[in-house]
Each structure stands twice: as C-alpha cells, then as structure tokens.
Amino acid sequence: MREVAIVGVGATPVGEHWQSSLRMLGAEAIQAALQSVQLSTVDAMYVGNAYGSTFSSQAQLGALIADYAGLKGIEAYCVESGDASGAAALRTGYMAIASGLIDTAIVLGVEKSTDAIGSNRVKGRSVSLDADYESVHGATLTALAAMIMRRYMHEYQLGLGVFEGFTINAHRNGNVNESAMFRNLIKPGGYARASMISDPVNLFDGAPDADGAAAVILTTPERAADLTDVPVMIVGSAVGTDSLALQDREDLLYFRAADESAYRAYQQAGVTTAEIDLFELHDAYTIFSALTLEATGFAGRGEGWTLANNAGEALGLKGSIPICTFGGLKSRGNPVGATGVYQALEAYLQLTGRAGKNQVPNAKIAAIQNLGGAASTAITHILKVGG
C-alpha cells in the first residue's frame, strides 16, 4: 500500500445556488482545486452525491461532471452512501491511490438540495431510511433524531437547554466563515425558544439542507512534493455500519458505526483521542454530536452533552476538542452528499494553517467523520501534517 496525500482543495460557498445546476457547481469546485496545484487534469475522479437521482433526476454524475469540467475521458464515477456519500468518495479515492492503480485523483462532493422543496425534498431525503419499516410510516431522519434525543433526555434526565452549546459553538465559528450558509450568532437562551420541527428537535437544532460542491486532490507523497510545500497525509480511513432501522438496534443511544469506524481509523493512524487537535464531526442534529463524542472516545457514555456546557467552550477553536471549526453542518450548512468533502477541505485548511479566523492553533492532527442516516454508515478519516 502507498501513502496518500491531499495536495489541493477547492469549493463553492455553501447555500442556495438557484442559478447553478449540479454540473456547474461540480465544475466550479474542480477548477478551483486544479488551479490550487496548477494541474490541468487528473487520472480519475470519484464523486460523492446522495440525492442527484431524486432531487435533480440525474444519475451518472461521474461522466456528466467530468465532461462539463473539461476532463472528458478520465475514469469517473459516483459513490452513494446517503449523507455519508462525500466521505465514501474520499475513501474510494484513498483506496485508488493507495492501491497503486491511480496516481492522481479528484474527490468531488456535490449536492443540489434546492432542486426539491418542501415535502418533496423531505420525501427525497427519506430514501436513506429503511423503506419497509420507517419511510412507509411517514418517518423522516429528523423524526428519528428526535426519538433518539427524547430517549437520551429521558435516560439521563436532561432538559432541552443542555444541547444549546452545540448550536452556539457552530454559529460562533460559522459567523467568521465567509462561505457559511447561516452566519448569525445564536445567543444563550435563543435555542430553547426556537419552534419545533419534530419535538424535541427544533429549528436551531437541525442543520439546514444546502447546495454546494467541494473538491480535494489526492496523490502519492512523491508527486505531492512537486505540487505543494505542505501536503496533508491521510493516515487513517475506515467505514463502519449499523442497521438502517432504529428498531433493529440493541441500544438506541449507542452509535455503533461511529465507534467502529473511528477506532479502526485511530488504530490505522496510530493516534489516540488525546492527540487529535480538531474533530469535524457530523452535527446534523445536536444529539448526533453528543452521541458521536461518546462513541468516538471524547466523552463517557451519557456525558457527551457535558462538552456543550458553558456555551460549548470546550468545543471552541481554543477548547479541548474543537468541533465544527468552520460552522459545521449547522451553520456552514449541510450540502448533504458533499458534506464529507467539505469536512476534508476544512481539515486541510486547518492543518496547513490557512483557516484564517477559523484557525485552531497548532493543529497537526484532525479527525473527520461523516454519517449516513442516523449513523447507519459512519466514515472516519484521520489527517496529519508534518513529521
């Protein structure tokens, strides 16, 4: 196996891109990434996308976007794993380079959520649930998150207010990120007053669906030396899975897939949680953040919420474990199948010291984790710079 480096990145802002189609968003990110390393083409492109078929009636994004971006003829295909599609594409790119079959690849995450609106989008998103046992009853991912959250609050006897620090922290970081979707600051107390979407999940709890495209360029350490002074190495890459239907889980309050993918990635990278300088986790809902922090070893069982105390101080850019450093899904926005690649791009900017106002001081090792559904799929990567 060969080592794999990230050498360049590019992205569109996250938000509502009414004027751009899937292919236009994808091409914009690809061109920015290629320009960042002054390359004109690559050997292959792996596209992460979850809902092109349902939102935009478009499949075959590999060929479609390669053609539109001026890369006609290269190896290109799409990888789907629900909301974890972006990280699945990153893992595919990692395996392609590591195997020796491909020397330089683009990993692109792209999604156009606003092609669908209202109940149509909600239905489109529900293909990531268990069709026979969940969607048929009118369940949505938000409703699943809400039922997990209510049980968590019941078991540990918690009020809604304990979760507000996750949201405050995300928006504090998104506030200084010019590419974020919702840059407003959330004041303490504001969270608990927000209107309910699926109680106890409220408007300030769930992340907004968005449009966007992000690209990273992967290559071997040898080629990386020609392209950049500061390559970021992918030192861990692992996927874990769990049942789609919540009813099939032995323990509703345990994100098994998040645990298994994180620990495999830690082992591969030879790192412990204490050595990780920042963690881009999948904060689609605050309860996902709490359970992820527990499953990945940053908090004990039933204690994930305590890290959000004091307006999320411990999770801030200078906290003990910074999360959502550019605003996370909640404030930067959730361009669904592209999210995992935005996480990689953000970690890359942190490790290369180019995160600007979002910079985590002295960041050397980053963990990123992308979830599909209610953590039915979890994909973790560990990125490292220097030494």
Partner: protein, 101 residues
C-alpha cells in the same frame, strides 16, 4: 439456500400487539404523500415480547399527550395513498390502550 448458510432461519411468531412507548415525536414537516396527516405522532414501541417497532400513534384526542412508558396496542389503519390516484397502503399503527369503564 445451502445448509451451511449463515442466513438466519426464520419462523413465524405472533405478537400480542401490546407494548409500551419507548420514545416518540410529533412530526411537523411531513414527506410527500403524508401531508394530509401532519402533524402526526411517531413512536418507537417496545412490544411486550421484547422487540422494538416504529409506527404512528393514532386515535389521540386533540391536546392528548403521550408519555414514555404509556401502554399501547396495535391497530390496522391506512398508512398513506401513493400519489393522487394511487394505491392505498394499509399497515399497523398503535393507539393508547383503551381503559374499560
């Protein structure tokens, strides 16, 4: 299927249809084909035999609340109609166990 397959052997089992609410939510933003019913209550029901099942809670009076631990029983109801002229899908929902006077 070969004899050595690891696939689970299945046998028929009849549940009593009784259980208790393990968790629940009132869903305000429904998917297409469920707009007419919204808002509606979804629950994870722990059946008396031990299995967990997701379903809607039906027959709740306006302003009637649900609590974790409430006793519920299965009933057969229309789940949805697929599109405007589509097939009617029937299935299970749960309601609070009726108290006898």
């Amino acid at each position: 299927m070969s004899q050595t397959s690891t696939e689970t052997r299945r046998e028929k089992f009849t549940f009593s249809g009784l259980g208790e609410v393990y968790s629940f939510t009132m869903l305000q933003e429904p998917p297409e084909d469920f707009e007419e019913q919204a808002p509606y209550m979804l629950a994870l029901v722990k059946l008396d035999e031990g299995a967990m099942i997701l379903a809607q809670i039906t027959d709740l009076d306006e302003n009637e609340s649900l609590q974790i631990g409430d006793r519920v029983e299965m009933v057969t109801r229309k789940l949805t109609t697929e599109g405007e002229k589509g097939m009617i899908v029937y299935g299970y929902k749960f309601r609070k166990v009726l108290t006898r006077n």
